[in-house]
């Protein structure tokens, strides 16, 4: 009997390919790889000043400690002393100047990590302190910017606001966020012949590691091979932040001729690496009696830290997302990229989008407050035109002049409002609050529209490599990396679907620069979109060759050759897949192919502000209900209903995992996760004892998640799916505004809480107290 379907094809809710290895502890992460004999352990010594020139460094004692094999400084770098992703402003080792507390000064390679650490402590470093700028407010006061402010403008918002029947303005602070990937940064470098080096590391961007290590060592790219099997979480924190540990490990290997490993412990990791940018958002908005926005002006002041890292594209994405789902007839956003003497902030799930989006959600919430309306009504009044409306409709154009062709937010919100009983619950909560003096509840619905594509257009390309071996087993490599998001599973499903073979026949292999070159970071939620298409292209090449071969052998037309589950049909014959492969091999048909994909239609010119930055948009919406204790500020998310659009899901189990994980991570960002720096610029919250990410019981008590079943990408993406990595994080804005709604009840909704993020118990209690004082309660 012939098989009717394969297991693990496209759209199957298939388990993560490493799930069994995860639960048995067999899955290897960088620090688990058996070390080659003689491997050195390397510790990076860090600056203990936020901003200082270095008058003198004496490392004599360090070098003389037991076990120490090499001490690495800026002078030992044979190539460029830089590991920055874009701008050449992140030294491997500080050279005369330190610009944040935690900056890499030098490194010690020793037989054991304890020896390396102990030795590093004996360095004599003489600093000459300089004034340090630590916060956005300080930077704006001093106009300490990395570059001139950048403005995006549509129409004349100042005039529109001036002429508007209603207006309001405010200032809103949104805090930073630590990635807290469970596995810290790690790299193992193994020296080879010809000054080659092989690096195993935990990175979203093996190609960049390859290029930066080559630059640091002063060798061609071909001398460096980078391999990543999996990461223990990344969330953007391993897009550029893995460059330093890899470069230091490679340099130690070069200097000593021995394998060398750098693994940050948690405190070092949090002290060295960049975080999600914190923002100060100033907003002025003009609107009509229905809450329709007539004009919007925004100033983003963004803490970039001591260098650019990826701050430019992060800040750009924030500017692109000031509209969220809303049509802005006139808008201006000016982005101040503040230079501060703190960690260089970096990519983090959403990449500026969340900060951009929460600004307008806050403004709309306040508009509704001013008008005494349900914020949902104001949101609906401002949505972009639905995709079914006439293309000529004015309300489709973004503030960056891209036409929104795929808007379905109305469908999602309508379905969610009904399924969550939003209106009834909102009324019931208000009634309940009137009777509950201490505990208060709040509810909010917020939508998400997130632009998919790297806004630096050239990054939207990917490659894949497929070998089919003579036994019919398939070896798959592609340029994307696995950080837990299930990318390898999805790509293997794509390949299984194309060949119509069971998932198990496809071997997922580590990402390596030796197989697929010049890759982009696995970032911007693009992993499956780009690499899925590349893998499909590679599979189709081999399929075409097989079809041509079989058509010739069976005297048929290649077009009529059909790949059925586990077999290939040509004319009236059905040939088992492995038989066909064996025959093709014997007939000298090449069974290996590369695939390549470049996203069509897009092209954005940052200099002119022209073009189309995004291929399409991903949509979703959430209703959150939260409770606060007005005596203590303690709070809890009680219920969350989510409806999220992933197009035609490649893997609903994995996609729901991304939705839930993204929401909870976003809720952490906006509630309990608080990074605190002391007056000297030292990060005071550098471990989980002091930096609190959501724990199990912080998960909303009642969580109802659904994928939008009618979802289908209007663009030709891989099996009409949509990207899912980042968009769900922003669903958590609903939780933040639900808390704000609960606070507003303290003053019987007469005073806007103007809550800053994160909404810690302290911020909530202080907002409650402000309202109590203002209303004499």
């Amino acid at each position: 009997m012939s098989k009717t379907a394969i297991t693990g094809g496209a759209h199957a809710a298939f388990s993560h390919d490493s799930a069994v290895k995860h639960v048995t502890g067999e899955a290897l992460y960088t620090d688990d790889i058996p070390e080659p004999p003689g491997t050195l352990q390397v510790h990076i010594a860090m600056s203990e000043r936020a901003h200082a020139s270095i008058a003198r460094v004496d490392l004599t004692k360090v070098r003389n400690q037991p076990g120490v094999v090499a001490v690495l400084t800026a002078r030992d770098v044979p190539g460029k002393n830089d590991v920055s992703p874009l701008k050449g402003d992140d030294p491997v080792f500080a050279d005369g100047l330190v610009e944040y507390f935690g900056q890499s000064l030098f490194a010690v390679a020793a037989e054991t990590i304890d020896q390396a650490r102990a030795a590093a402590k004996l360095a004599l470093v003489e600093y000459r302190d300089r004034p340090a700028i630590l916060t956005v407010d300080q930077a704006m006061e001093a106009m300490s910017l990395l570059e001139a402010p950048v403005t995006l403008r549509r129409g004349d918002p100042a005039a529109a606001i001036a002429a508007a029947p209603h207006k309001l303005e405010g200032r809103f602070y949104v805090g930073a966020q630590e990635h807290f990937y469970l596995e810290g940064q790690a790299a193992l470098a193994i020296p080879g012949e010809d000054r080659d080096v092989l690096i195993f590391c935990s990175s979203q961007h093996p190609s960049e590691i390859q290029h930066k290590v080559a630059d640091v060592l002063g060798v061609p790219n071909h001398a460096v091979t980078v391999e990543v099997r999996r990461m223990g979480g990344a969330f953007g924190g391993k897009e550029s932040q893995g460059n330093l540990p890899a470069a230091v490990a490679a340099l130690a290997a070069r200097m000593t001729g021995r394998p060398a490993k750098v693994c940050y412990d948690r405190d070092d990791d949090m002290t060295i690496t960049g975080k999600r940018h914190d923002f100060r958002i100033d907003y002025r908005v003009g609107f009509d009696a229905a809450g329709r926005i007539l004009g919007l002006e925004l100033d983003h002041a963004i803490r970039c830290g001591m260098s650019f890292d990826l701050s430019q594209p992060v800040a750009d994405r924030a500017m692109f997302h000031i509209d969220n789902c809303y049509y802005l007839p006139a808008a201006r956003v000016t982005s101040y990229r503040c230079k501060t003497h703190t960690q260089s902030n970096t990519a983090f799930r959403g990449f500026g989008g969340p900060q951009g989006m929460i600004g307008i959600e806050r403004a709309i919430d306040e508009i509704a407050h001013v008008l005494g309306q349900d914020p949902l009504a104001v949101r609906r009044a401002n949505f972009y035109a639905h995709k079914r409306t006439a293309p000529s409709t004015e309300r489709r154009v973004t503030h960056y002049n891209m036409v929104v062709e795929d808007c379905i937010i109305q469908d999602i919100v309508d379905e969610l409002v009904a399924s969550s009983d939003y209106a009834e619950r909102r009324a019931a909560i208000r009634e309940w609050n009137a009777r509950s003096p201490v505990l208060k509840r709040g509810i909010a619905l917020t939508p998400v529209k997130f632009g998919i594509s790297f806004t630096k257009t050239f990054l939207n390309q990917a490659g894949a490599l497929i070998h089919v071996y003579t036994d019919g087993s398939i070896h798959l490599s592609h340029g994307g990396t696995e950080m837990g998001q299930g990318l390898h599973t999805k790509i293997a499903q794509v390949v299984a679907e194309e060949f119509q073979v069971d998932f198990e026949r496809v071997k997922i292999t580590a990402t390596t620069t030796a197989k697929v070159p010049n890759t982009s970071a696995t970032a911007a939620s693009s992993g499956a979109d780009l690499n899925g298409m590349a893998a499909r292209a590679a599979a189709r090449k081999i399929k075409r060759r097989l079809a041509a071969f079989l058509a010739e052998r069976y005297q048929s037309d290649p077009e009529s050759v059909a790949f059925l589950p586990g077999r290939i049909r040509v004319r009236d014959s059905e040939i088992a897949f492995e038989t066909a492969i064996r025959d093709a091999y014997l007939a000298r048909v090449p069974l290996s192919a590369t695939g390549y994909y470049a996203t069509p239609k897009i092209g954005w010119d940052a200099a002119t502000g022209e073009g189309r930055p995004f291929f399409y948009f991903a949509y979703g919406a959430a209703v959150s209900e939260a409770a606060i204790d007005t005596l203590t500020g303690e709070n809890r998310i009680l219920r969350v209903d989510i409806l999220h659009d992933v197009g035609k899901s490649l893997n609903p189990a994995i996609d729901l995992g991304q939705v839930e994980g993204g929401f909870v991570q976003g809720a952490g960002w906006l509630t309990m996760e608080e990074l605190v720096w002391d007056d000297r610029g030292r990060l005071a919250t550098h471990a989980p004892s002091t930096y609190k990410i959501p724990a199990c019981s912080d998960r909303p008590l009642d969580m109802r998640m659904k994928l939008f079943e009618r979802g289908e990408n209007v663009e030709e993406t891989i099996f009409r799916s949509k990207a899912v990595g980042e968009p769900p994080l922003m669903l958590a804005i609903s939780a933040f505004l639900a808390l704000s709604d609960a606070i507003a009840s303290v003053g019987d909704y007469a005073i806007y809480p103007a809550l800053d993020a994160p909404a810690t118990p302290e911020r909530i209690l202080m907002a409650v107290e402000r309202i109590k004082r203002a209303t004499n309660r």
Binding site: R266, A687, P761, E769
Partner: protein
């Protein structure tokens, strides 16, 4: 004297020789044994990625508990059994239900935290008691996951009992019992490694003698604090006395009027009996550390290390607990509040040790209320911890003991407020009148856990909450725990 540590590791007797006494179990597993399934993600007992299960002989059975390997010191495992994630599956690869359920529920994404979750679920599975949601939250509070949002892992905890029983695992646990009996030994384990000395007595008299002989020695019970001196402060400890094997110190006895808690009793050992006598103290303990910490951490240690933000002392002081200190054969007792002299300074001579805590029982167990304020409900350190015990007779407050942690450099009673309350009608008006007096009792500081203003405001409001909670008609006011308003 012995220079070797003997324990059971994944079903085999493991003899560790030439090990620095402050070697953590995690480093021993990963580096010496190459058991890399157990992960390091914080090295401070706050994330659970290194969770392993440790079994201990308890009569004719072995009691297994989840612990954080990153802050367990290897000599503490003497006579115990360690199970790691590598030792759960059947030899042919079949998964244990706690593993299979995670796979089935899509409970792993990046997988780095997964072995820790597996081990926490495994310890739960061994209890044989199917948990409710609250219990699952408690069991998993010490395991952080950054990918999943926890839902699929909670589902795994709920469904693992529906899978076929793992008979191979039951056989292995039976083998642990016989091996533990085989390696059981009485008498002190003591050894020296390059100038570092380790003693683990089993007898309290021997402990008293060792304490006198080694005045500079650090006493360690669960190492949930001392472990961090090693992994975070990288302190070199010259001599260590481990009290974890002194059975007498782990006893908890309820006499007619007093609960006597041995200084070596782990929170987990004490939780049940405390819940019967002081339910709200038990609720506070539920939120202290996480299960992996409470399984080894002790109330005695929480007192002896003198932290201003420890959670047990405010509750115990509010209860009027007395501390029993031992020096040689001599004992002295004092009210617990007198033990805390100033920051980093306790009323304990170098050769003394905390032997016991005596807690007077309450006529009305619900009178004690304990409030812990932190950024996160579970496994967080208090910004403010307020414990209240006001006895009301004929509508008047006749006795008041109120103690706060996080408000001063030591756990400290609100004496001004207490005396202002006593003799007054127990009413909202009285509470409002005395609340400003808190500003005379405390001058809290600002730090990363909260500002001084927040601490003071919250402390005032906690007195309001206490008053509300002592009134019979008040609806539930809490957002966490079994008495929560929602859940």
């Amino acid at each position: 004297m012995s220079d070797q540590i003997t324990f059971v590791l994944n079903g085999e007797i493991e003899v560790a020789r030439d090990v620095p006494p402050t070697t953590t179990l995690l480093n021993y597993l990963r580096r010496a044994k190459r058991l890399t399934g157990t992960k390091e993600a914080c090295a401070e007992g706050d994330c659970g990625a290194c969770t392993v299960v440790v079994g201990e002989l308890d009569g004719e059975a072995v009691r297994y508990r989840a612990v954080n390997a990153c802050i367990q010191l290897v000599p503490m495992l003497e006579g115990r059994a360690v199970v790691t994630v590598e030792h759960l599956a059947r030899p042919d690869g079949g998964l244990h239900p706690c593993q299979q359920a995670i796979v089935d529920c899509h409970g792993s994404q990046c997988g780095f935290c997964t072995p820790g979750f597996v081990m926490s679920l495994y310890a739960l599975y061994l209890t044989g008691v199917k948990p409710d949601r609250q219990r699952i939250g408690d069991v998993l509070a010490g395991n952080l996951c950054r990918c999943t949002g926890y839902g699929p892992i909670v589902s795994a905890a709920e469904t693992m009992y529906d899978l076929p029983r793992p008979h191979w695992d039951e056989a292995r646990r039976g083998r642990d019992l016989s091996l533990l009996k085989e390696i059981r030994r009485q008498g002190t384990l003591s050894f020296e490694y390059r100038g570092q000395r380790w003693f683990s007595p089993t007898d309290v008299e021997e402990l008293a003698r060792l304490r006198t002989a080694h005045r500079d020695a650090v006493i360690v019970a669960g190492a949930t604090d001392v472990g961090l001196w090693v992994t975070k402060q990288r302190r070199r400890l010259a001599s260590i006395i481990d009290i974890g094997r002194v059975a007498a110190l782990r006893e908890i006895v309820a006499t007619g009027t007093t609960l006597e808690i041995g200084a070596g009793a782990a929170y987990s050992d004490a939780e049940g009996i405390i819940a019967r006598h002081f339910p709200d103290f038990a609720e506070l303990i539920r939120r202290l550390g996480a299960l992996q910490v409470r399984n080894v951490g002790t109330i005695g240690g929480n007192i002896a290390n003198g932290s201003p933000i420890a959670d047990a002392p405010p509750a115990l002081i509010a209860l009027g607990a007395r501390l029993v200190l031992r020096r040689g054969i001599a004992r002295r007792t004092m009210p617990l509040e007198d033990f805390f002299i100033a920051y980093g300074n306790q009323d304990r001579a170098p050769d003394e040790f905390v032997e016991r805590i005596d807690v007077p029982l309450l006529d009305d167990p619900t009178r004690l209320k304990c409030y812990k304020l932190s950024k996160r409900f579970d496994q967080d350190i208090s910004a403010v911890c307020g414990c209240f015990n006001v006895r009301v007779a004929d509508g008047k407050a006749v006795e008041a003991r109120i103690c706060f942690g996080g408000m001063a450099e030591t756990p400290k009673r609100a004496r001004t407020v207490e005396s202002a309350l006593v003799g007054q009608p127990w009413t909202e008006a009285t509470v409002e009148r005395v609340i400003p007096a808190l500003e005379r009792d405390y001058a809290p500081i600002s730090d990363h856990r909260g500002s001084a203003a927040y601490r003071m405001q919250a402390a005032k409001n906690l007195l309001r909450r206490y008053h509300l909670e002592t009134r019979s008609q008040t609806p539930a006011l809490r957002l966490a725990g079994r008495a929560a308003a929602f859940g």
